[in-house]
């Protein structure tokens, strides 16, 4: 009997206009947008490759260590191929970062390497998950609004219930068959998207990526089911299809258009305490400043106590080449460090006598700079977290109260374009910087002649520790996605129970 019910429902659904329309529109939108998104990804990848090449060239152009390490160590974040599915923060956050050894780099120090037009951000970019978010939810509601109310109106519900069927079974049969129907456009459009992906030579998906896509499908299923159940609940609660339809449409508009935008606008306006943020920023900046002032005192003390007079940036060497030494202060992102770079190609005979003195000075100064940078890092890290991250986390929590927010968060976690995954890159960069610093301290290259002078020997950049960044494994993606997925499933269960209660207690 149960299978008969499912078969009946399936046939009912499959032969409808709405099914054909849903299939058509999904395929159209997904294919059109995937083609555009692949183009976009290829361009970003090309940008990334050029950026890596230019940065390496620029480093190689530097003939002495100091100039290279102070100015030209730049790492790039590769674009994520799965950003086609959910772009998340992948395109919005900085993707090239300059790493001076005397500053621990953060997201807020990153820039953009893309040759893109920055003004183009006035158009929002869409991805496959966004299409699913909008179209699947709409389809689910259109499939569900007359599931019970329609049968009720036509009187067939009474007819079905005269057989010895449990009401729960009817609900389950309706649910299962509709889900199968809705899965068809989802899976077909995804398959088409994957086919398009494989035609592109720039995108090579690994086995892990397919698992991640599997995770996206799973999340999509849970999301779809939430909306189908919402529709069914409305259908069970109202007796007339026209009422159910109206209600369903307004609920859809509320959940998709209004809630996410309104709650964030309200949350941002309500939570914003600019004075607090300002005070927090100022106090942290002050602390950092004090540490660097202490550094400067020690630096000046060293210069005063050493036998050679001359406290100008180039220590009186007057060589041929560029000299720079100053503090860089930027309160907004709490960026504060001592910036010194000397690149001499030649020195005169008088300068030559001062070279040992300079070696001595940098042998003292560089470890001190590194040490000060390490000392300021915890202050900066916690302050940046309070100023920028907290608000964003609160916003995400508010968004997570709606199914669309949960779905978005889950798919972002699967694709690895969420906040934590982007942070992974910067964590990797910081780790790499530590190995760089260790390398410097071990080799003591800063106490050598090549540190600032390239007349006898030039800097050998091949000995630098290599940087490589791998996206986090699928297990970590899963771990980050599961809480959101769990919330979605929980919503499903609650809704199903609500429908069951409403339907069982209703008179036919």
């Amino acid at each position: 009997m149960f299978t008969t019910l499912i078969r009946r429902e399936l046939l009912d659904n499959l032969m409808t206009f709405r099914f054909a329309a849903a299939l058509f529109i999904m395929l159209l939108l997904v294919v059109a947008n995937t083609a555009v998104l692949i183009k976009d990804y290829e361009r970003r990848l090309a940008d990334y490759n050029t950026a890596v090449k230019t940065h390496q060239e620029k480093l190689r152009e530097k003939k002495n260590y100091m100039a290279g390490l102070a100015e030209a160590v730049v790492l790039d974040r590769p674009p994520n191929p799965l950003s086609i599915f959910n772009v998340g923060l992948d395109k919005r956050l900085g993707n090239q970062i300059w790493i001076p050894y005397d500053l621990v780099p953060t997201l807020w120090d990153a820039g953009m390497h893309g040759a893109d037009n920055p003004l183009f951000n006035i158009f929002t970019s869409i991805d496959i998950v966004f299409i699913f978010e909008v179209v699947l939810s709409l389809m689910a509601l259109i499939f569900a609004y007359d599931a019970i109310a329609g049968e009720h109106e036509r009187g067939t519900l009474r007819l079905v219930l005269t057989n010895s069927i449990r009401r729960g079974h009817i609900l389950l049969a309706k649910y299962l068959s509709a889900m199968i129907c809705l899965l068809v456009p989802l899976v077909m459009s995804l398959l088409l998207a994957l086919m398009l992906l494989t035609t592109s030579t720039a995108i090579a998906l690994s086995a892990d990526d397919f698992l991640r896509i599997g995770g996206i499908v799973l999340s999509s299923l849970a999301y779809l089911s939430v909306f189908y159940l919402i529709g069914m609940l409305i259908s069970a609660a109202t007796r007339r299809t026209s009422t159910a339809l109206m209600l369903a449409m307004f609920v859809w508009a509320f959940l998709l258009l209004i809630y996410p935008n309104m709650i964030l606008t309200v949350a941002e306006t309500a939570a914003e305490l600019p004075q607090d943020a300002q005070a927090r920023r100022a106090s942290a900046f002050n602390q950092i400043e004090q540490l660097w002032e202490e550094f400067d005192r020690q630096r000046l003390k060293f210069l005063r106590n050493d036998p050679v007079p001359g406290e100008e940036p180039d220590l009186g060497i007057h060589g041929l080449g560029a000299v720079m030494a100053d503090f860089e202060r930027y309160q907004t992102t709490l960026r504060y460090h001592y910036y010194t770079s000397i690149a001499f190609r030649e020195v005169g005979p008088r300068g030559e006598t001062l070279v040992p003195h300079a070696k001595n000075y940098f042998g003292f100064l560089t470890p001190l700079m590194i040490k000060t940078a390490e000392k300021t890092w915890p202050i900066r890290e916690s302050a940046l977290k309070d100023i920028y991250v907290q608000q964003a986390e609160a916003d995400r929590m508010w968004l997570n109260l709606s199914p669309i927010g949960m779905y978005d968060a889950a798919t972002q976690a699967w694709t690895g374009t969420d906040w934590e995954s982007i942070q992974d890159f910067f964590e990797a960069v910081r780790q790499w910087r530590l190995t760089l610093v260790d390398y410097l301290l071990d080799t003591e290259v800063f106490a050598s002649r090549e540190w600032f002078l390239s007349d006898k020997e030039e800097a050998d950049w091949s000995t630098l520790p290599p940087f490589s960044y791998q996206r986090s494994g699928v297990a970590i993606n899963a771990k980050r996605a599961l809480p959101h997925l769990f919330l979605l499933v929980l919503t499903n269960l609650v809704l199903f129970m609500a429908i069951f209660l409403v339907f069982v207690r209703s008179e036919v």
Binding site: F17, R18, A21, A22, I25, L29, N33, V36, L37, K39, R43, L89, L93, G94, W108, G111, M112, A115, N117, P118, L119, F120, N121, I122, F123, T124, S125, I126, I131, V134, L138, I142, D146, S242, T243, L245, M246, L247, M249, F250, A253, L257, I258, P260, N261, M262, L264, T265, E268, T269, T332, T333, Y388, V389, Q391, A392, D395, R396, L399, W419
Partner: protein, 467 residues
């Protein structure tokens, strides 16, 4: 007869669920919009005024010497926030709000230094970017997205519903012309949508006018009127679309599915997809290429002025003045070229997205609210004309000083007289309504055209259909 049918429609709608829900939804959105604007706008204005004051103070500090003015320029020039920001946000967070009219980047040991030029800010990633993406709840969103959806929900069963119930046949059995039925339905739906919408708009404006910090002048009210008119036209367009589909299709459920999918494609996806496609048509100068070209022109210029006759200091001074002037001009020209390429790309994308009425409405709202891209280009134009004015002022002042050697750009070659702060032209960022009318006339015409086409489509479909 039309009015009779319209009245019947109106009464029917007033008691319906959709009317109540629409009222609720629009009221909630409009009130949120007003409250947010009340909180944000004073902060925005304060920030602008502080920045402008700081900029003026900087100018005052360098005002006593004409050479300092030439070398360092007028300082930062800020975009004035619009008082109608609540109508359209226009992606203001993405667009820069300042142009730096500041000094150049090199100086020689003998005191010669590059002079000021306009510098358009290079965009760094926005620091608040880690927050979730959000569409601002402005009028453009409420009308562009929500009102258009509601319009479809009001008309999807206007004709197909009556046909299903059989009342259409009954009605046409009387001596009522078909067009009267159609227009009656149209006006009925329009009025029943306008009631909640107007109430919500009035509430919004009421809340806004309670505060003294947000003041709307006569010009702003005029603009609001035009914006309301555009919203009306836009609503009519979607009502006509709803009637067209409703007349063609036998069942209301099918009509709704078609309409919703059309809406999703037209409103949600078309603007963004088309913009992404359009971005591939042209590519502006990349940052690297730009840097390369700057270095090239600077080098070439340096070579040009490298050799000189040491016995003719007068001539050399004039040459150096020409050098720094040309250097600033070339740099600014390159900057300008890159910027106009970027702007042209956006312009192209915007004209292609015009296929979608929501993009059109967004553009129109931005134009009349004085926000967004159109406004940004206007700001840039204001900045450029101010830069001309500033340069003219400097040359004029120098010319009027008989003692000056008239080598603008070199310290010794210029007037040494004091400059009165009052005499220096100040930057004023203004909007003009006339200009907006000219740039948006096209969009408005297109919108009207769309409406007429859809309405005649609905008329034809309804006249020819078998009941």
């Amino acid at each position: 007869m039309i009015w009779h049918i319209a009245k019947r429609e109106l009464y029917e709608n007033l008691n319906s669920l959709r009317f109540g829900l629409t009222t609720l939804l629009l009221l909630a959105l409009m009130l949120t919009n007003a409250v947010v604007h009340l909180r944000e706008h004073p902060k925005r204005m304060q920030k602008y005024h502080d920045a402008v004051t700081a900029s003026l103070n900087v100018l005052r500090a360098r005002a006593d010497n004409l050479y300092e003015l030439v070398k360092r320029g007028p300082g930062k020039l800020y975009k004035k926030p619009s008082s109608l920001h609540f109508c359209a946000d226009g992606g203001e967070a993405v667009l820069p709000n300042v142009v730096n009219g500041g000094g150049g980047n090199w100086s020689w040991a003998d005191g010669l230094s590059s002079i000021w030029r306009l510098k358009y800010p290079s965009v760094t990633p926005n620091l608040d970017n880690i927050e979730p993406d959000v569409t601002k709840v402005d009028w453009a969103f409420i009308i562009g997205y929500v009102l258009s959806l509601v319009a479809l929900l009001f008309t999807f069963d206007a004709i197909s519903g009556e046909r299903e119930r059989g009342t259409l046949r009954l009605m046409l059995a009387n001596a009522i012309p078909r067009h009267a039925v159609l227009f009656g339905k149209f006006f009925g739906a329009l009025v029943s949508m306008l009631i909640p919408f107007t109430i919500a708009v009035l509430m919004n404006l009421l809340v806004l006018s309670t505060s003294r910090s947000v003041q709307l002048d006569a010009d702003a009210w005029g603009r609001l009127g035009i914006i309301f008119g555009i919203a009306l036209l836009y609503t009519c367009l979607f009502l006509a679309l709803g009637l067209l589909v409703s007349a063609r299709v036998q069942r209301s459920a099918v009509s709704l599915v078609i309409l919703l999918l059309t809406w999703v494609t037209l409103v949600v996806f078309t603007p963004n997809t088309l913009a992404s496609i359009a971005s591939g048509f042209s590519s502006p100068m990349s940052a690297d290429e730009f840097r390369k070209r700057v270095a090239q022109t600077e080098g070439a210029l340096r070579m040009k002025y490298a050799t000189y006759d040491e016995n003719q200091p007068q001539k050399r001074r004039r040459e150096l003045a020409a050098y720094v002037t040309e250097d600033a001009q070339q740099n600014e020209r390159l900057n300008q070229e890159r910027l106009s390429q970027q702007l042209a790309q956006i312009q192209e994308a915007r004209s292609i997205t015009r296929i979608s009425p929501v993009a059109m409405v967004q553009n129109l709202f931005e134009a009349f609210a004085g926000t967004g891209f159109e406004r940004h280009t206007q700001f840039l134009e204001n900045v450029r004309s101010y830069a001309r004015q500033f340069r003219e002022f400097v040359t004029e002042t120098d010319r009027h000083d008989a003692k000056s050697r008239h080598a603008v750009g070199v310290r010794e070659g210029m007037s040494q007289k004091e400059v009165a702060m009052e005499a220096i032209p100040k930057f004023r960022d203004e909007l003009s309504l006339n200009r907006d009318f000219n740039t948006t006339a096209m969009d408005m015409l297109l919108l009207a055209l769309f409406f007429i086409v859809l309405m005649s489509g609905a008329y034809l479909a309804f006249v020819r259909v078998e009941i």
